[in-house]
Symmetry: C2
Subunit: 665 residues, 2 copies
């Protein structure tokens, strides 16, 4: 019986052991040689030093908050906060560490063929994915068994806060470098991407690691942990006499860790040699096995409870369907095979303006199906099993994070591998393989972002439900918890909450634009002042660009995070719990639209450019291509800075509200 | 006593007489001669024929709806619908008619100096403004005195529906022509704006009339009427025994028509020769006199009612403060004198991409103060006088429409005057005057859009309050009217409602992009095939471009309007009144953000380009200028198509909900 209760911990430890095995496998593969050694070292060093500085800055904030929580809340919350914060940071760090070692091995491994390089790069991603979910499950389960429910909100807050810093800082870093590098390199000098002559190229490659990898890993660690925690809290509030409702999310998570490991073995090139197909195969296996595995679990564990086994089970299926649906929808809007991306490419023929107009319009349009999916998923799972059913659906959706993050983290690894191959001047046939992997990496990064924002929105809804239940419980009456739309305070809250994602995104867009401008000036300066740079006889000063983006990212990440933490406190204190409830929902509503339109629109711009580069509408160097590069530049901070940073943001708002609710009521 | 009751009707008739006097004054001014005659005739004919075709298309929809309302609702609603529809169409038509006569006289009048030209152009705008409010007040008051409250919703629906068609059709027309003209003219051929060699230039000038003028006039007619109606309905529902609450909005409107007429006499060049200053002087006088005039009215009319005179009066002041605040905020974000526009201009130095990123970021940021103003305005006016106080604030804000629309409609007149002067090859000193007027027209168009969207949002909130009260009254219980955020149907409604502005805007962006692409191809063809066109020895085929945009605007306007009318019916029928309540609020929340960010961002892009053209950051023809032209192109459908079309859209949703509520409950 004890063994059964501790099943989630056992599974997490098993997954961590499997991760260690994967790390050993990757280490055994030969690292790239010659020129690639210095490049890899520069990326590792840059990423490492950025993350250290980021965590040092964030550490100060964390210590202040830790002390505040210790004084004003409880030691359980304070210690939980510390655990969440440290593990979120660790998730990001491990992701970056593995990725900056896998990248060079993938470039070298491409010499042995596509299948080998694919295997290495996917395993590199999978390490991050499995690490994220197993650390999440392990920490939540252990801390719950050790201290009960009361400290878990602290853990969630710690995870959210750090992941928000990681997303914001990493996001500004990666896109300021990328946009800056492209604006001079591609547009003004007409040299290829990742050309070693471009002084911003190393900063760009580091950016992939600290933004797309470390930032994303911290983000999903947080969404995962927070969802488990919120579902457990809801279970306890709604069914105080049935601890099974508290434990169920931990067990669902365990099942999916196992199915993710099994699914990962199916990620292999088939006859069609489709890399994306290999990924989807693994994902499909994981989803199907989870759907199969959830039933015996639920029927054994939840027999004889107030909600029927079948209804609980169907709720988890709703979650899996939403996850699968998000993949299909995002693939449709962002892949070069379908109409939307092609229409952006076509619009590029008539200029920069029409390209941007089309991309903006498409991004907005791309919100339709995800929103309907989320809306109907919420209604159906609620109809099946009440608000706990909604939480269960979200939990089921997020239980897939292990393999989804694996597919996602594949992106920066192959992006870097392509960059290293290009910079080290590897032969054409190897670059063909790394380019093919890189192209798929772009798609996987795009597709998994749809999943990330949808799950973040749903997780935030579950947190709101917990907030609402807490208000009702603490005030001892149902009326206080009623957030009605006729109440002008609720409306004001909705508007202020709706404003936060807009303000937040505008701040990040501004930070990227400003910093990219500085990079452009520095790169122009180097091309002007360093003789022989364009001819390839002199080396650029890569470090200068790295310094610019590092300093800017660290500086610009503070304000948006602080606003996010303070907003619920200020609104709750001045306007009360009902306005705060409005604020939470308002931020989720506009957050979903801003997040989806930005991430999908940005990826569609990126792939429209790639579609033209394949030779359509005039190909590289044509008028249409120039316009498409502009679209891609605009899409960069959309899809990799502002858009994904909405995910942790809407959850930080909700968690802070949960933390202070007792003080407000 | 009878005279006092009919005071609103008397005032409206007086204002119409004043309008006739203004029309005569303008007619007396000499029309432009020589080359300008043909150009003016082409604009008049094109605008006329487009509006006729638009109203013919819309007429079919209107007749179908009229019959449906007659069968399923009541004759009062059906006839009201017809009156609202006809008067909305008439507002647009009169605006266009006057404007296409004033434009050429302003160009000619510039020969007599700035003061004379300003006087003519402002009077031209004022005709539209006063016509809109007096028709609004006259129709609502007369129909109310004739048939009571029951038919007024029909009148509001008619006005909203037609204004939505006008905004959508006119918006697509104007920007498809503008973007198409600019992309080839400015970007590819480097010829000036409004150059007679550009085959799309006549279509562009017509677009200003049918979009910025006729569309805007119909829109404000609708917001004004609907606000009066919603406030009257709320007054009747909340205070069934005190008819003063029903009549008060009509009287507030009457006061402001008189203060607008007085204020208009203060629009004169002062010592500083500032055109914008002259406008603001007139507006300020109107606001101050309204604030002064409201007090004796309210204290006489509302003495001894359940809400104190002072609280009612303060509510109206809140509305005036919101109006003034919106002007100040929008001016800050869109004028070349302040930081935001300059920062976009600066970002243009590093390329198309950074220009667009900066503009998008700024547009999002520009939502902050308006949203806070609206949120706190709502809370304060509710605190003062309940939901009726909120309605009163909105009514006070909208009572300024007469002079505000005057200032706004000044824009297309001077824009056209500048175009005619340029095309007719008038001398440099005259073009300097028309250019100065045109530049201010750009700012007034921008500034009044902030007012329009804020008032539309608030008007929609008042409509929602009426919907909510109706649900409560019809279902006979309070619980049915409670739209709580814990209810997943309300959440689903919020999400679906939030989606509508996104979907709607994406559709319009797509329509403009697509049609502009066709215009580009046609213009390129003419430059290629018509020999001597570039040299000025051959004439372009203006009519071809006019045909393209006319056909596209009429075709593309149907779907978004139909979706808007059907959405509340479908959601209300399938998911019920509570989901519909969520939908209404969801559309207001995201609608405000989409609307404000688009209109303000678009205007800022436009003026950033103008700022560079004044000689900053390299001036005309520089790299920064090219980037700024891209930003302006993107901003065009933002500020003149998608953004302003949100205004009627969110009100159509709410009015349809009010219409069908009895059937749903």
């Amino acid at each position: 019986m004890i063994l059964i209760t501790y099943f989630p911990i056992v599974v997490s430890l098993f997954a961590i052991a499997f991760v260690v095995y994967l790390v050993l496998q990757i280490s055994k593969a030969p690292a790239a040689k010659d020129k690639a050694v210095a490049i890899t070292a520069a990326i590792q060093e840059g990423a490492n030093s950025y993350l250290k500085r980021q965590y040092k800055t964030v550490g100060i904030v964390a210590v202040v908050l830790f002390i505040a929580l210790l004084i004003f809340m409880s030691w359980q919350i304070a210690i939980g906060f510390l655990i969440g914060a440290v593990l979120s940071a660790l998730s990001g760090f491990i992701g970056m560490w593995v990725s900056t070692r896998a990248n060079t091995r993938v470039a070298e491994g491409a010499k042995r063929g596509l299948a080998f390089a694919l295997d290495l790069s996917f395993k590199g991603g999978l390490i991050t994915g499995l690490m994220v979910v197993s650390l999440g499950l392990l920490s939540v389960a252990s801390y719950y068994f050790a201290t009960g429910l009361s400290g878990l909100i602290g853990l969630g807050f710690g995870a959210s806060l750090i992941s928000m810093f990681a997303r914001v800082g990493g996001g500004i870093y990666t896109k300021a470098a990328d946009v800056g590098a492209d604006l001079v390199g591609k547009v003004e000098k007409s040299i290829p991407e990742d050309d070693p002559r471009n002084p911003a190229v190393i900063a760009d490659l580091i950016g992939d690691e600290v933004g797309d990898n470390a930032g994303m890993a911290a983000d999903i660690f947080e969404t995962y942990s927070v969802t488990v925690i919120a579902t457990m809290i809801l279970g306890a509030l709604l069914f105080p006499r049935a601890p099974q409702f508290v434990l169920l999310p931990l067990f669902l998570g365990s099942i999916s860790i196992l199915t993710a490991i099994i699914g990962s073995f199916f990620v292999r090139l088939g006859k069609s040699k489709s890399i994306m197909g290999a990924m989807y195969k693994g994902l499909a296996v994981c989803i199907v096995l989870s759907a199969v595995g959830f039933y015996p679990l639920i029927s054994n564990m939840m027999k004889g409870q107030s909600i029927s086994v079948m209804n609980l089970y169907l709720s988890t299926l709703v979650g899996l369907v939403i996850a699968a649906g998000m993949f299909v929808i995002t693939e449709y809007y962002t892949s070069t095979s379908w109409g939307p991306v092609k229409s952006i490419a076509k619009a590029s023929e008539t200029g920069h303006g029409t390209n941007v107009i089309r991309g903006l319009g498409l991004g907005m349009q791309a919100t339709a199906f995800p929103i309907l999916l989320i809306a109907f998923g919420t209604i159906i799972s609620f109809w099946l099993a009440g608000i706990y059913g909604v939480a269960l659906a979200v939990m089921a959706m997020l239980s897939l994070s292990g393999i989804v993050v694996g597919i996602d983290a594949f992106g920066p690894i192959t992006d870097n591998a392509g960059g290293i191959a290009e910079m080290a001047g590897m032969p054409e046939d190897i670059r063909k393989i790394t380019d093919a992997l890189d192209a798929v990496g772009n798609t996987t990064k795009a597709v998994t972002k749809g999943y990330a924002i949808a799950s973040a929105g749903l997780a935030a809804l579950v947190l709101f439900a917990a907030y609402s239940q807490e208000v009702a419980r603490l005030s001892g009456s149902l009326s206080a918890a009623v957030f009605t739309l006729d109440n002008p305070k609720v409306i004001a809250g909705l508007l202020i909450g709706g404003l936060l994602p807009y303000l937040f995104a505008s701040f990040l867009m501004g930070a990227v634009g400003k910093t990219a401008g500085k990079v452009v000036e520095e790169v122009r300066r180097q091309f002007r002042e360093i003789k022989g740079l364009m001819e390839g006889t002199a080396k650029p000063e890569y470090g200068k660009c790295v310094d610019i983006v590092t300093a800017a990212a660290l500086k610009e990440m503070m304000v948006p995070v602080i606003i996010t933490v303070l907003a619920p406190v200020v609104v709750g204190y001045i306007l009360g719990v009902q306005a705060l409830g409005g604020l939470l929902i308002g931020s989720i509503v506009t957050g979903l639209f801003v997040g989806i339109s930005m991430t999908t629109g940005g990826a569609a711009w990126d792939n429209a450019k790639k579609y033209i580069e394949k030779g359509n509408f005039g190909g590289k160097g044509s008028f249409a291509h120039q316009a498409a590069v502009t679209g891609d530049t605009v899409g960069d901070p959309y899809k990799d800075t502002a858009g994904p940073a909405i995910n942790p943001m809407i959850k930080v708002l909700n968690i802070v509200a949960l933390l202070i609710v007792a003080w407000l009521v």
